[in-house]
Amino acid sequence: MKQTFAIGIGGAAGQGVATPGDIFAKIFSRRGLHLNAYNAYQSIIRGGHTFLTIRTGPDKVTNMGDRIDLLIPLNQDSMDRHLRLLTAGAACVYNAETIKPGSAATGVHLCPLPVSKLADIARNKIAQNTLAIGAGLDMMGIGFPALEDVLQEQFKKKGEAVVTENVGVARAGYDYAAVNFTAFPNPLPKTENRYAILSGNTAMAMGGAAAGVKFYCAYPMSPSTGVLHWMAAHARKAGIMVRQVEDEIGVINMTIGAAQAGVRAMCATSGGGFALMSEGLGMSAMIETPVVVVNCQRAGPSTGVPTKTEQGDLWQMLGAAFGDYPRVIAAPLDIGDCFKLLPEIFNIVDRFQCPGLVLCDLLLSEGRLSVDPKDLDFNQPIDRGEMITTANGAPTGLGANGAYKRYRITESGISPRAIPGVPGHIHTVATDEHDEDGVLISDEFTNPIKRRAMMEKRMRKVAGIEAAIPPPALRGPRNADVTLIGWGSTGGVIEEACEILSDQGISANQLQIRWLVPLHGEAILDLLRDVRHTIIVENNYSGQFARYLRSETSYVPNGHIRKYDGEPFMPHHIVEAVKEQLAGKTKLSVPMHEIMV
């Protein structure tokens, strides 16, 4: 097993859970360690219960894992919820004056801090947090200067006195732990690597910027709002027009308008906002103006659970907007992939002049991952497809009117696209069915022959898109005892479940789907022809991907693992479910989320 170490920090919203989280994240990343963080929270600004899990280690950390090594409860509620879940070797550092521990498993170290004896709590309201960070760091075997540096940065805006105060409090916690608490075995190593730590939302925003996006707009909606925040904060440096719009209907239509003018344009939302965008997607397809729409899924239906994750929007995406039209749907496999996918999907939708949908979810959107800065490469190939601009050789005079046909029927289905402002290529794009010239055939004399020709022209693009997208591959040993099939954000947790299963003598491999439309059904059937036992793992109730795979390929797996409680899978959920299914106990496992968050 890889060496990892996980810290859980629990408290009420507004109690300062994020700050210790940021401090630990910085310390780990500066030691050259990888990191994966997930924050379980509620739709409340003050109160409720927030639980941040930061898992670190020298190798890539693909998910939040199964185990908390160090628990820091900032209030009684957090102690009550989480202490019972700790296992032997774990420690719990807490304020002994305000929080009472309950019963803990054998081998769990209770580490009470006499907060008022170690710090002036009348002056420093967050003393218990800072003491706990100091104590925890000593127990992890990390030298104090690492913390001192981060505290300097964290508090320098508030002045030297505040810095000194907090460094002093942290030191007191650090020293107290050295005398009174047991250190963890296997201290975390140090490496020369340096990683960027970012959320999936930041990654998608940066990926869009790297793809050459010049227009971004949005209506705030959890968990997609982080994309808007990054875009807004960096718009002027990156030369991107960023707008907050009245609603998601306005968002998709503005995005299409900007794309029609000739720039790369994108928007992001969650399921509810995406529902409002459906009609607009049909317009993008019909007028053949490419846009990219990101859907950061949250638990639905309706307002649902705004701060919880789910993979419940697949069929909404598959069926968004009425009528048949070519579309591309891709689901990033991890936070690094959130960056990588954007330039790829933009190149495809520009070439094929159709809408592209990115199906992300809260787990990636709001999670944090350490990513090698080399994987955040802004020097991406940009392929705008067959576009006619004044810059690329279009005539400069007024001539040539009449010769240009915006929707010229071609073998590939792709018609060269002139943008407004180019002389000699005047045309109207229309959401009504139209002929090659763009003239409506829907109103005065509908024409079945022209209608059929235009439908076929647009749909011919599907074959080209299929050829442009790589088929999926099996990861792990051939002839494995079990093949786990997942899509999108479950990539990391399934990978770790496979490792755990292998360690326990059950060989497992993984088929993780990134490109959902087009699906490459034949290639998937080829991969699954010789496998022994297949289980589809997904974060929804009805097995949306299982149903989709069946509709495209008639393939039926041996079993299903599903979770729809709002929380992501942990590796043991999958491991235990695989074992019960291989033992023939069930074909559908719905693991219980043990942590009440």
Binding site: S29, R194, Y195, A196, I197, L198, T202, A209, A210, A211, V213, K214, F215, R236, K237, A238, G239, I240, M241, V242, R243, V245, E246, I249, G250, N253, M254, T255, I256, G257, A258, A259, Q260, A261, G262, V263, R264, A265, G280, I287, P373, L376, F378, N379, I382, L398, P420, G421, P423, H425, I426, H427, T428, V429, A430, T431, D437, V439, L440, E444
Partner: protein, 298 residues
Amino acid sequence: MATSLQRSGQLTLTDLKGKVDPDWCPGCGDFGVLAAVQKALVELQIANHNVVTISGIGCSSNFPGYINTYGMHTLHGRALAVATGLKLANHSLTVVVTGGDGDGFGIGGNHFVHSMRRNVDLLYIVMDNQIYGLTTGQTSPTSRIGMKTKSMPFGNIEAPVNPISLALAAGATFIARGFSGEQKHLTELIKQGIEHQGFSFLDVFSPCVTYNHDNTYQWFRPRVKKLEDDPAHDPTDWIAAMEKSLLWGDEIPIGKFFERTDVPTLHGAEPVLNEGPLVHRDPRVPLDVARSFIEELM
């Protein structure tokens, strides 16, 4: 609007003729609006490849197909949102948005209000016939109380929206009303609306000869009174404009209600556009800037 008009000096009415003839009913008020827009563009000599006409859905929204400029025939109610995106991506284009009262004040009401407060630089012409025509005659947001239609056969019980008052309240910076039966006057308003820098709203009485038997040419003709003929009318006086907007009955004002020129346009207010239209710029983020984005995360 006239930030970068390219005056070619050779545009004629023939150049602006669309690929097909309008399929509006004979006598439809929309013919007059189309003719007035074409005349205004010729008088302003704006090269037609630099003009984009954008509409929603409805009888009047077929407009872009009937004029030889770049065009977009979008979704019901969404023309202003599409136009805003297009204008921000290429603010050197002259944008004219056209549609009907149902499209603009009904299904598109939200975009109407927000586009005005944003002061997007475009001309929005509503061909207001106080009825839904293409769906064969239902009540519209501007239908009068008591009007009998297929959807309200016993008479409309909902008060109509007042587009001019609404536009004044929402912060439009150019607000006018025209009448399809007053060609010269309408053409002049369109020219002013195009040249105005900011959101120009032009509500045009454009009678539906098939489904609206209440608000006909004959009904409007004796009632419309040009604000330009009133020497006391001051279009910079917002409160006076609001009072004038409430007049309805034997006397209905047409003309320019209000204009102010001290509000920055949406594209003018955003420094990102200082270096020119986005569409002409290198899409790439400079690598040193990209490096600084990554360093923030380390």
